[in-house]
Symmetry: C2
Subunit: 201 residues, 2 copies
Amino acid sequence: MLTLRSSPASPFGRKVKIAAYLLGLMDRIEVVNADTTDPNDSLRRQNPLGKIPTLVLEDGTTLYDSRVILEYFDHLAGGGRILPNGAERFTVLARQALADGIMDAALLQVYEGRYRPAEKHEEKWLALQAGKVERGLAALEAAPPALGERINVGHIAVACALGYLDLRFAGRWRADHPKLVAWLDTFAARVPAFEKTKATP
Amino acid sequence: MLTLRSSPASPFGRKVKIAAYLLGLMDRIEVVNADTTDPNDSLRRQNPLGKIPTLVLEDGTTLYDSRVILEYFDHLAGGGRILPNGAERFTVLARQALADGIMDAALLQVYEGRYRPAEKHEEKWLALQAGKVERGLAALEAAPPALGERINVGHIAVACALGYLDLRFAGRWRADHPKLVAWLDTFAARVPAFEKTKATP
């Protein structure tokens, strides 16, 4: 068995779970929730960064972060399944990087509330992160990634970014991004694991 | 020509520059410095996240982040040069993720000073990030990545993480990590691009 350290609300953990379902690997994986704020959680020994998702292999080796785990799953499933090898590979990887960046910027806004009292919140910092999310969404709305024959890591990451904005920012992105709303509906219909991995607020 | 948007002090930009030198691609690349804090810098149109490094291809396509660009360079150079395809691939990718995570945690500490007045600094947050750096260094000191026949993305990322700690944290890591100090000396002797890409404080 592989052990996946994650948490129900982690958007990066959700990427890994969706990939595992898509590739038929979920029955080889035991999900063990991790508390990233607990210094005594074994997570910090498994991954010095104390970050989720982290995958523990049978031999004790650990792999992280989500991108590395997704590529490893693709490899376990024979290769070229969710990570294309041809000309589109770098477009797909850059789209994943964009979606990961949206999640990072969204998480930094959430952490502002989680790690700081209100008087230490900094508008300039929050606006910088919000701008990244806003421009990222605008770019995706202008050209939602085509859902072709195969679902890839770019699609998965974009869906998880939007799902995280639903979870933590009350889905406010939906009003101004009708094409992305339709895109996410299509993705969810194609990939049942998306609903299955949805966290409750 | 490829255009690389970066800045002299960016540790992630340094990864890309070192890879380009190593793979003999530097004469195909024009480096154009970017100001990530300037809303009018074209960077935010090239990469909605407003992050460096960002690579602009001849056809106007943009690739980011550093990991994607390093893999693209490896592909341009024929493949399997700085990113192994065999069994060690995932170990190398996870090591790059560890080093990238150390840089992220170091950058968040630097940003605390750059984006917030002193009264809004938060010790709990800074300690969280410092812990990631400390545990990451401890893991690397326990087993510095062997510098085998080929320099890979894991080596490059670790060197850039240590170089960034030299630049922004007065090299304080050196006192407690003698094996890593020796490792970095060996790396720098093997890879002249490391010194060539060194930023001045």
